[in-house]
Amino acid sequence: MKTFFLKNNFTKIIFLLLILIVPWSISNLTDSIEAQKITSDLAFYEIHTCEVSLTEFLIKNINVIYQDHYFIKSSDYSSITCFGKIAGITQVGYNFYINVGTNSLISILLQGAFWTLLISFISKDKERFYVKKIDYLRSLIFTAALFSFSFFAEVRFYEKAFYLLDLSDTRSYFLLFIILAFVLNNLIDVLLNRFNSVIYFVPFMYLFIGVFSGLNFHFYSLIFVFFGFVSFFTKNINKKFTTAYLIFASLWCINSVGPAYYFKPDKLRGLVSTMYDLNSTFYWSIYFFFLISGLLYLYKNNLKEFKFQSMYKNSLLVVVPILSLGYVGSANPFFNFMNFYYFGQQKVGTNNSSPLLLNQWSERLSWRGFSSSAETVGEFFALVAILGLFKIVKERKTTLLESFVLMFSLFGLYLSNNRAAFLALVLVFLIYFSKKQKLSQVKVLIGVSSFLILLIYSIGFENILQSISFSGNSILTQANLYKSGEFGNSALIALNNSYENKTLFSYIFSFLSFISFYLNRSELWGIFFSRYNPNFVEYLFGSGPFNFGQMYGETYIKETRSLLFPHSSILSLLVFVGIFGLLLVTIFFIFQYLKNKSNLNTIGKVFILFILLNIIKSDSLIYLSSFTFYTIIIYFILKKKNSTLFN
């Protein structure tokens, strides 16, 4: 298997090791303070905050590395001198929470250097990608300025991230600008030599998630937005899209003037607006425009050479590390912390070290492991499994490594408990297999019957027997259960009226309810509709990209078991761009599909089908890894002759 990695990279490896070890080992060795054994008497660590390094602490308390009642957390609101040191320990019951100082400014530099070094391991292209010096400089400055502006726009989130950095002082933004420009410059310098290779490493975004500790953006965003600006300055942007987007962005900004709503990003950290107000909406509107432009620029400039095979090989390399790091992290607090910091997780990996756990009704519980979302990572495993299965069917042979990874992908899918992704996998595989093998009608019938049996088993036999009126009302029933006031929000009032008057819309919505019931989405979508409270403009044009602040802050509903997202990228899009935006996106997609139909073969079609089926019932599009992975797949399937692409 061809590898992108060079053998002689010792200097880089030494640097990498230094970045891994040194930050957690710095402390004053001349003082008389020595780490103490951790007990219920935590007086020592209360007195000597930020005086014992993590390494010293772990040497004295080796059991913290592997015993699961210890939790090592990063404390981003720490001083620079406190970086890598024990900032405090708290005991709650039998559990000990160990806070390690991780100053956000240092984290930008440290994590930025770490990930840039990793990219530098990818072998160089024959020629460096050329960007005019003036465009390079302009894009660098504008990208760094945009992200510096994000600290101002989301000040409520960032005031808890930067220790003693006054975000009302211009000097602080200058400091942040210098740091970001420095990290970005090094990154782009390395990247331009590998412009045509890095695109194959998109699956690695599921492993190196790349969210800076304490911040609300991805390392990759810097790259995409930079190329977005390059594309803008080189006039490589679509004028129609820009005009339409400007209209939408203006409406989002005008509509956001008024009350501000805060949104705790939780597992969406990196790609979600934490505030709903003018500044934040303005920032996210610009950010999203350049993110999309940057992605398209990357795709367009790789269109000619792109081969799916190379990306598939890299997907194989990601599966086992995701599973094993997830498991190692779940059982070992130290590795959990390291995973969080060096892989840039949005949320600390799970501490549930029993992936096969069942609930009180003997149902399998989903295990998210390394990822912040079991559903999203489950889709990734399913996609890798599809690629592997297609390859086996097509070439009638496989390697040991491929079979090994295929098994792990299916195992990962099983652990994630993403039944919809599994069913979609079976469905697209059956379609491909029957087309490829030109199966007889009997065999097709056997395949379809097997799929239906699987479907019924997955849905549950007792659910199949439910009446259509019950399933057709399921979303509305759940929405009414969760509403807090007498009447509920605007969406719920409209729905109730529609059902009462038996309008055409109520029948359409009943069909959606019917589907949601069998997808086990009635409750989640019901919660969505009990919260969704748009005015007329918001209903038509949405609240702005990645903006959940208004929806979650404006309407009070009855308590849910956790912070539940819509679990449908379509519903998320409805919040972001409104019904009109959703229609435009759909029409654009259908238009592109019909226009490029001659490029498509069965593999291309079933891939699109798989992605569409999944985004209907999952939040995948609000995670940068899956957003990029899906857009790259769809873009190349539509734009490139599939017979060449999948060759």
Binding site: T11, K12, S79, I80, T81, L105, I106, L109, T116, L117, S120, K124, Y163, L164, L165, F174, L175, I178, I179, F182, N185, N186, D189, V190, N193
Partner: protein
């Protein structure tokens, strides 16, 4: 003569401010100024004191009290960080003239 550190910490000098020789008067008592919002000052050992009038504040600041040392240290380190980056960029620029690259890119 106005001291800028005093202005930064205590606020502008009052128009009628006259510096008094407080140190030579062991019985001097600072009177609270109800129009003055209290300011917290620190010495180098991080001992804290609240001052309740401009005269008191000016006296303490002139005697070496001021910002919290850890705050000054953090601010200095932040400035140092930017300084190091700028020096690094400068060195990289110079070395790039002789074909050197930090990440061997």
């Amino acid at each position: 003569m106005e001291n800028q550190t005093v202005v930064d910490l205590c606020g502008d000098y009052p128009d009628d401010f006259i510096k008094q020789d407080i140190a030579s008067n062991p019985n001097f008592v600072f009177e609270n100024d109800s129009n003055y919002s209290a300011v917290e000052l620190y010495d180098k050992d991080e001992n804290a004191v609240f001052v309740n009038s401009f005269i008191e504040c000016e006296h303490y600041v002139s005697g070496g009290w001021g910002y919290k040392p850890s705050v000054i240290l953090e601010s200095n380190l932040q400035t140092l960080l930017v300084g190091v980056i700028l020096v690094f960029v400068f060195i990289k620029f110079i070395y790039s003239r002789i074909n050197f690259s930090f990440f061997r890119n």
